[in-house]
């Protein structure tokens, strides 16, 4: 016998074997038992969740020579014939290649004839969303007045592409992504059946990579089995995938938390030496921090969101230490990196720069307590810039107190607004002046605003907020006259002129004054 791929060998033959879709099998089996089958079914779900398998099993169950039953016997001529695709009354149509109106018309013609070999004609139309609009209309006519003795099973990965007229004529069954544990269990069964052994970690990796698709999981397992000698280890899986393990990112994050720049750079060195693709590495890094974010939001039990159970507590710990703000900041740095790295022939350098960026914020005068979020970290006064507190760590960039303040300014405004809307409005018309960590200068152009802000009450509002946010007393003083730098409340790109400029560059357009075109 010729070799069959694992996922074909292990294609489920009975409803009981169709794992992870109990709600579907129960519905179908009850309908079979009570003789209440719908005339048309629509199976929706991602790839590798069992749609086509379920369709085949259903076709067998209604036509089994043992009588219509809740499970096909898989022994009789009908079952075996359908399995092998020999029965002409059970048609499997791939709508991706047979999508025209002529084919569907043909199907309509033939659907009217009674079945020849088995009890019921079954049309399985795979990837049904690929049909043309005309073909859908032709099909609709048949679905509206279905001939007896015909069962339609439509399968698709993209139900939203079907016209509503079609979906409303079918009983729709949604196939779920298969749970992590179910995939793992199935993988273990397969491995045992082929007489091999596999480490727990390796199983976890494969199940994670499969992301809910059993077919993907089995395909990957097949590759890994072919690659590995003896017991399958997680290294084997990583080698086949061409990726690095999660522990690399775990260590990288640990290095960030410990402010151990040297360690972080060494990790990058390892990646470079082992010849991994940095672009892929970046994507993985993004996914890792995404996981941190998800775990932080969801707590430790996040398996349903695709995170292995044994990793969740570790991730949770790191996520808590970093805080949501910091994770978001790192993610945005990584995204920027990803778009740059595509066009660069020095990916490692870019990565190192990104690591510097990530560390810059962390590099503080006092060791931070990790439960703090980015927003509540201490400020480094400007004069300390020249004398780094931790000389053993290279300082790539120092944040000045003013930058710190500018970064926090929108939040400060927000807080002030809660206290007093009037004060908030005043501050909006003012500009940030000098700030050395203790004294904050605010500049106003107009005398009125200056006077108002100098008033005890308004100053107090701002000082209170500043104290809350920075955890120390900061004196506010006002001055008259304009300062060069304007504090930007919103991100730069929201500036309309800059947006227009960017648009002009992208589309190579020019500005046309509408008012001149009379």
């Amino acid at each position: 016998m010729t070799y069959q791929a694992l996922y074909r060998q292990w294609r489920p033959q009975t409803f009981a074997e169709l794992v992870g879709q109990e709600h579907v099998t129960k519905t179908l089996q009850n309908a079979l038992r009570q003789g209440k089958l719908a005339h048309a079914y629509l199976f929706c779900g991602s790839r590798g969740t069992g749609k086509t398998s379920a369709a085949k099993i259903l076709a067998k169950a209604v036509n089994c020579e043992q009588g219509e039953s809740v499970e096909p016997c898989n022994q009789c001529a009908a079952c075996q014939g359908i399995q092998a695709g020999r029965v002409m009354d059970v048609l499997e149509i791939d709508a991706a290649s047979t999508r025209g109106i002529d084919e569907i018309r043909d199907l309509r013609e033939k659907a009217r004839y009674a079945p020849v070999e088995v009890r019921k004609k079954v049309y399985i139309i795979d990837e049904v969303h690929m049909l043309t609009a005309e073909a859908f209309n032709a099909l609709l006519k048949t679905l509206e007045e279905p001939p007896n003795q015909v069962l339609f099973i439509l399968a698709t990965t993209e139900p939203h592409k079907l016209p509503a007229t079609i979906t409303s004529r079918c009983q729709r069954l949604d196939f779920r992504l298969i749970d992590f544990d179910v995939i793992k269990k199935r993988l273990a069964e397969v491995i045992a059946a082929v007489g091999r052994a596999c480490e727990e970690d390796a199983l976890n990796l494969i199940a994670e990579e499969a992301a809910g698709s059993l077919r993907d999981a089995l395909s990957l397992l097949e590759q890994v089995l072919a690659y590995a000698q003896g017991t399958v280890s997680s290294e084997d899986v990583l080698a086949v995938l061409g990726t690095v393990g999660r522990d690399v990112f775990y260590e990288l994050t640990a290095a960030i938390l410990n402010r151990d720049l040297a360690k972080a750079l060494l990790l990058l060195q390892d990646v470079a030496v082992s010849g991994k693709d940095f672009q892929h590495f970046t994507q993985q890094a993004i996914l890792y921090f995404r996981d941190l974010m998800v775990v932080l939001a969801c707590g430790e039990r996040a398996e349903r969101l695709g995170i292995a159970a044994d990793w969740a507590p570790k991730l949770y710990q790191q996520a808590q230490a970093l805080g949501l703000g910091e994770i978001g900041r790192i993610l945005s740095i990584l995204h920027e990196l990803l778009s740059e790295i595509r066009w660069s022939n020095r990916p490692r350098l870019l990565w190192e720069l990104a690591v510097f960026k990530i560390f810059a914020f962390e590099d503080l005068a006092e060791p931070p307590t990790y439960t703090q979020t980015a927003a509540t970290t201490e400020i480094v006064p400007e004069k300390q810039v020249d004398v780094p507190q931790a000389p053993e760590v290279a300082v790539p960039q120092q944040i000045t107190a003013r930058e710190q303040l500018v970064r926090q300014w929108p939040r400060i405004l927000d807080e002030v607004k809660k206290e007093s809307i009037k004060c908030h409005a005043l501050l909006l018309s003012g500009e940030l002046g000098n700030f050395d960590g203790k004294n904050l200068e605010i500049c106003f152009e107009g005398q009125f605003h200056y006077d108002m802000m100098e008033g005890e009450q308004n100053k107090k509002y701002l000082e209170n907020v500043l104290e809350r946010i920075f955890g120390k007393k900061i004196r506010v003083c006002c001055s008259l006259g304009s300062k060069p730098e304007k504090v930007k409340n919103v991100e730069q790109e929201n500036n309309p002129e800059e947006l227009i400029q960017t648009a002009l560059e992208i589309f190579r357009g020019q500005l046309i004054d509408e008012s001149e075109k009379e």
Binding site: H23, K26, T27, L28, N30, A31, R33, Q34, K36, A38, C44, G45, S46, T157, E158, P159, H160, K161, A164, T167, S168, R169, C170, Q171, R172, L173, D174, R176, L177, G212, I286, R290, M293, V294, L296, A297, C298, G299, A302, R304, L305, L324, G328, L331, H335, E336, S339, D414, K417, K418, V490, E491, E493
Partner: protein
């Protein structure tokens, strides 16, 4: 609650139950599934023996003049006995259609041997024939069902399958499957099959098998976000994406929902009573939105809008992969 007028489909059911069959029916099928269902019940009543079904015929009104159609019912059926004729797409009752006196008379005073059912997509209620038929109660208007009437219908359908449902679960179920009856009928059949021998519809069974409409899902998603249940929100997002909904569509729906929320908040603050009317949304949706509005502050909404706009900008500029962008967005929205 105001006593609702009995929907016409129920009136027809009641008539059939007592064995009353009219010689002429005029169906106005705004919700065609209800009309079809009613016609099927009528046929069943007319021909208690299933094999006699052949005596009922369906013709397309666009292909025959009314005289022809009326004449058809006069011909003796091949199988003997009385005759039932379903006329789909009947154009005779639309505006501008005139009937001769003679024809009108024949329609109104018909022999009771035959039964004529017109499905008229357009009806002019000022036309004489319609007025006459209406006076006799022969006009049946099948309006799309909403609110209480919809729940009632669903409950009835479930009962026909031998299933009970509690009031709370009924609301949950209807909210989830939406108001399209054909679709709802499919969901009911599916739910009944899933339950099998069990009689009682439980919330778990609904959750397990029923397909949600994307609107319902987005509502649930926003609900989870607004009430700070981030984990649940991420599950909903994952389900939506797994069902093949495009990320940008989800984002657009989120934006719409948050905009509604903002509008609702302003309107409520201004003392608006009829939120559904003012926002042109379904009363049920209005109820949910106002509950959500009560839970959110204006500053939160403002921040939410900024986050949403930024997210859209990021996706469209290709800066972030859409799925991750949505996840980040939801986590950020969840952090109050």
């Amino acid at each position: 609650m105001r006593k609702q007028q009995e929907p016409d489909y129920l009136r027809l059911q009641r008539e059939l139950q007592v064995g009353k069959i009219r010689p002429v029916y005029l169906f106005y099928p705004e919700e065609d599934y209800l009309a079809e269902q009613a016609a099927a019940e009528l046929v069943k009543k007319f021909f208690p023996h299933a094999e006699a079904k052949a005596a009922s015929a369906v013709v397309d009104g666009r292909e025959h003049a009314l005289t022809e159609v009326v004449a058809m019912t006069d011909t003796v059926s091949l199988f003997g006995g009385s005759r039932l004729l379903l006329v789909k797409n009947a154009p005779y009752f639309a505006k501008g259609q005139r009937l001769t006196k003679e024809l009108l008379q024949r329609l109104l005073v018909k022999n009771h041997e035959a039964c004529l059912v017109f499905f008229a997509p357009e009806i002019s209620f000022t036309a004489k024939v319609v007025k006459e038929l209406n006076a006799r109660g022969a006009v049946f208007r099948f309006e799309p069902l909403k609110g209480y009437a919809l729940q009632n219908w669903v409950k009835q359908q479930l009962a026909a399958q031998g299933k009970n449902i509690s009031g709370e679960n009924l609301t949950f179920f209807v909210e989830r499957i939406g108001g399209d009856l054909r679709n709802a009928a499919n969901e009911i059949a599916k739910l009944a099959a899933f339950l099998g021998e069990k009689k009682e519809v439980t919330k778990e069974s609904i959750m397990a098998v029923c397909t949600r409409t994307i609107q319902a899902d987005i509502f649930a998603l926003v609900d989870a976000v607004v009430y700070g249940r981030t984990k649940e929100a991420l599950f909903f997002l994952r389900d939506l994406l797994a069902a093949g909904e495009p990320a940008l569509l989800i984002l657009a729906m989120l934006i719409r929902q948050f905009r509604l929320l903002g509008e609702a908040k302003e309107l409520l603050a201004a003392g608006e009573n009829d939120l559904a009317g003012a926002l042109k949304i379904h009363p049920y949706a209005a109820k949910k939105v106002s509950a959500q509005a009560a839970k959110t502050s204006m500053s939160y909404l403002k921040r939410a809008v900024e986050l949403l706009a930024q997210c859209e900008l990021d996706i469209k500029r290709g800066r972030i992969e859409p799925v991750l962008a949505l996840e980040t967005l939801i986590v950020a929205l969840g952090a109050k």
